[in-house]
Symmetry: C2
Subunit: 387 residues, 2 copies
C-alpha cells in the first residue's frame, strides 16, 4: 500500500474498527456486557468508515472531490468489499485481500478450510501432514494416564500442566490453531504477523515431522519441536501458554464476540480429507457457548442476507485476491463474477501476502497480482475522471 | 399494484414497518423512551424486509427462486429505492413513487416544497394562493385581541378555543399543514387517503378563496369554509381538532421520532415565492425540540451519507415516479440518472397517484406512467430469466 499510495499520489488512511485497539465506545466498560457490546457490528463499522471519509473530505484541504479506494485484508478485506457494496457513493472500488466473504452458512462446504491447511502441510514436507494426523491418537493414548499427562505437559514446556480431560481438549484445540495459523502466515520470508517466524514456516515446521510412524512419545516430541518454531522462534519463551496463539494486538476479544453474533463460519473436519480430528459442525453447541460467554445467540444466515451471499453480481469494482496457501481462500471469491468483480489467485501466497511490502523473496505470482491490482485501481480512477 | 400483480402472476406482500401499525417491538412500551425507540431506523426496516423476503422464499412452495420487486410510495418509496440500493440481491428492482430521497441536508433548496404547494393553489383558482398568503396577516390582526381570539375559535369551529400566543402558532401550523396535505392528495376523483375528500380538492378549496382582498373577518370566514372541505367533507365533524390533520393509521408518532433522528427534511418559506409566512430553516430549534420531546438529537447529514445523496449512479433498476402537483416531487428524482435509474413525471399527478387503482378519471399521464412502469418491470424480469 505504501508503494502504491506514492505512485498514485494518494493519502493512506488507517481506520480503526470500533471495539478494537483504542476505539472503545464505552472505555473500559465496552466489553462488560451485551448492552455495551450491542454496537459492535460490521454494519456499524461500515457506517463509521462512511462518516470518517466524509469528515476527511470536509476537513482536508483539496480532498473534497478526491476518489477513495477501500483496501483491506482478512476481515478487513470483507469490510472493504462490503463497503463498496453498501457505499458505492463513498468508494469507487475496493481491494478485498484474502476476504472469505463466502465462509458463511452453507455457501461453501464446511470442510474446505481444514482441507487447505492440510494441503499446505502435505506439500511442505514428506510425511508432514500424516505425522500431524497421527498425533491426535498418540495424544489420546498418552493422556490416558496421569504419568502421560505429566510427561506431555513437561515435553511441551507448558506454563500450566494438563490435569483434566478438558485441559486435553484445550491442548488439542491449541495445536489445531497453531497449524492453522502457520498455514495462514506461510510467507516466503521471515515475518512477524501473528508471531515472529522464519521464511516458509510450514516447511520449517515440517522439517521436524518427516516420520509419521514413530512411537507416540517420539512423535509428540517431534510435534513439540515443530510447534516451538511457531511459539519460540525468537528463543525467548520460557514456557508455552495455551491461551496465546497470536499477538494480542489482533483484538481477538472483539472478534470472538462478532463470531457469536454475525460472523458465524461453519468449520468441520473428517480426518480423511484433512489431518485433523474428525469434528462435525455443531451449531447448537456453538450457540450455547456463545450464550454462556456473551449472553447472545449467533445468527448464522444474517451475513449472507445482509451482504448477498453468492448473489453479488449487481455490484462493481471489487478485486478479490486470494492466496493459494491460505486456508481462507476456500471461502473467498476465486473466479471472476463480472468484468468489474474480479478474482486474483496467488498460488504461492498465504494470507493477504499481496498487501505486504515488496520483498526480494516475493514469488512472481504476487508481483503480478500487485501489478494487476494497481491496473484495476487506475482504471477506476480514469473512469471516475472521464465522466 | 393489484392489477399489475395479476398481469405478472405475482404475489403482493405488504410488509409493515417496525414501530408502525401493529408491529411494536416492545408492545405498549415501544414509544416510552429513546431506549425502546432505538431500533426504529430505516436501516433496521430494510433489514426486516430482507429477512422477510428470505423467509417467504423459504416457506412458500415454489417461491425459492421467484424474483422480487420492491414497490412503495412516499417514505415507502424511499425505502423501496434504498432497498434496491442496499439489497440488490434481494430485489431485482424498485418502483419508488413520490419518494423525496433528496429532501435532505442541502441536496435541494429548502423552499422548493412550499413553492410547489403554492403553485398548486395558484393554478387551481384565481386569487386562491393570494387569499391564503393574505390570511396570515389577517390572523395576526384578529388574534391581537381576546375578542378576536374568541371570534376566530368560534368561526373555525375549534374543539378547544385559542387562548395564548402559542395556541395561535399551533393554529397557523395546522392551517399550513392542511394546505400542504390538500396539495399532496389533489387527486382527480373523490378519495380517502389522509381524509375523505372530493375530486380535485384544491380546486374545491379554491372555490371559497376567489377574493384575496376581503376584510380580515370575511377572508377568514372563507378560509374556514375552504378548510372545512378538508376536515368535514363527510359533514360528520362537530368541531375541528388542531391535533388531527390526517387519519391516525399513518402512524405519525413513529414518523415524528424518525424526523428527530434520521429523517431531517429542511423546509423554509419566504412569503414571496410561496403563500406561507416567512420562516427560515432553523436546525438549532428543531434539534432542541427533538431533544425535549424524545431525548435525542437529529443527524441531518446521515441519510445522504448512508444512501448516497445525489451520487447514486452505481445502482440500477429503480424507477422514480413523481407527481407534478405533489410538493414532495421537489425532493424527488425527476430526471433520468442512467439507463436503469429512470425518472417519470406525471404532471397532473399528486402524491403517488400512480400507485392507486385505475380510475376512469385518471389523467392520461398517469396511465402512461403505469404502462411504462410495468414495461420496466418486465424488462428486469426478462434480464433476470435470460441470464
Amino acid at each position: 500500500m505504501w508503494n502504491v499510495a506514492e505512485e498514485l499520489d494518494a493519502i493512506l488512511v488507517f481506520a480503526e474498527h470500533r471495539y478494537y485497539g483504542e476505539s472503545m465506545p464505552f472505555g473500559n466498560k465496552s466489553f462488560t456486557d451485551s448492552k455495551h457490546l450491542n454496537y459492535l457490528t460490521s454494519q456499524q463499522a461500515l457506517a463509521d468508515f462512511a462518516v470518517l471519509v466524509q469528515h476527511l473530505k470536509d476537513t482536508i484541504p483539496g480532498a473534497q472531490n478526491t476518489p477513495v479506494i477501500a483496501i483491506g485484508g482478512s476481515y478487513g478485506g470483507m469490510l472493504a468489499a462490503w463497503f463498496r457494496m453498501k457505499y458505492p457513493h463513498v468508494v469507487i472500488g475496493a481491494l478485498a485481500a484474502s476476504a472469505p466473504i463466502w465462509q458463511f452458512d452453507s455457501l461453501v462446504p464446511c470442510g474446505t478450510f481444514y482441507k487447505i491447511v492440510t494441503e499446505d502441510f502435505r506439500k511442505s514436507g514428506l510425511g508432514c501432514s500424516e505425522a500431524i494426523r497421527n498425533s491426535w491418537a498418540a495424544i489420546k493414548r498418552i493422556t490416558a494416564t496421569e504419568k502421560g499427562l505429566r510427561w506431555l505437559s513437561c515435553t511441551f514446556h507448558l506454563c500450566s500442566p494438563l490435569k483434566t480431560v478438558t485441559d486435553v481438549t484445550i491442548f488439542k484445540a491449541w495445536l489445531r490453531e497453531t497449524w492453522i495459523n502457520s498455514a495462514m502466515v506461510d510467507y516466503p520470508y521471515p515475518a512477524d504477523f501473528l508471531q515472529p517466524l522464519p521464511a516458509w514456516p510450514v516447511q520449517a515446521i515440517c522439517k521436524y515431522l518427516k516420520n509419521p510412524k514413530l512411537s507416540d512419545r517420539l512423535l509428540l516430541q517431534n510435534i513439540f519441536q515443530a510447534i516451538d518454531i511457531y511459539y519460540n522462534y525468537t528463543g525467548r519463551a520460557s514456557c508455552l501458554n495455551l491461551t496465546h496463539t497470536a499477538t494480542k494486538s489482533l483484538g481477538l476479544q472483539g472478534w470472538y464476540y462478532q463470531a457469536c453474533t454475525e460472523m458465524v463460519m461453519p468449520m468441520c473436519s473428517d480426518g480423511i480429507n484433512d489431518m485433523f480430528e474428525p469434528q462435525k459442525w455443531d451449531f447448537r453447541t456453538y450457540s450455547e457457548d456463545c450464550f454462556k460467554t456473551w449472553g447472545v445467540r449467533p445468527r448464522p444466515s444474517w451475513i449472507p442476507t445482509l451482504y448477498g451471499g453468492k448473489n453479488i453480481s449487481a455490484h462493481s469494482n471489487i478485486i478479490f485476491s486470494n492466496g493459494g496457501l491460505d486456508p481462507w481462500s476456500g471461502g473467498g471469491v476465486t473466479q471472476n463474477i463480472t468484468d468489474t468483480l474480479v478474482a486474483i489467485v496467488i498460488p504461492e501466497g498465504a494470507h493477504h501476502l499481496d498487501l505486504r511490502a515488496n520483498s526480494p523473496f516475493d514469488p512472481k505470482s504476487v508481483l503480478q497480482a500487485r501489478l494487476l491490482e494497481v491496473q484495476y485501481m487506475k482504471l477506476w480512477l480514469q473512469k471516475q475522471n472521464g465522466q
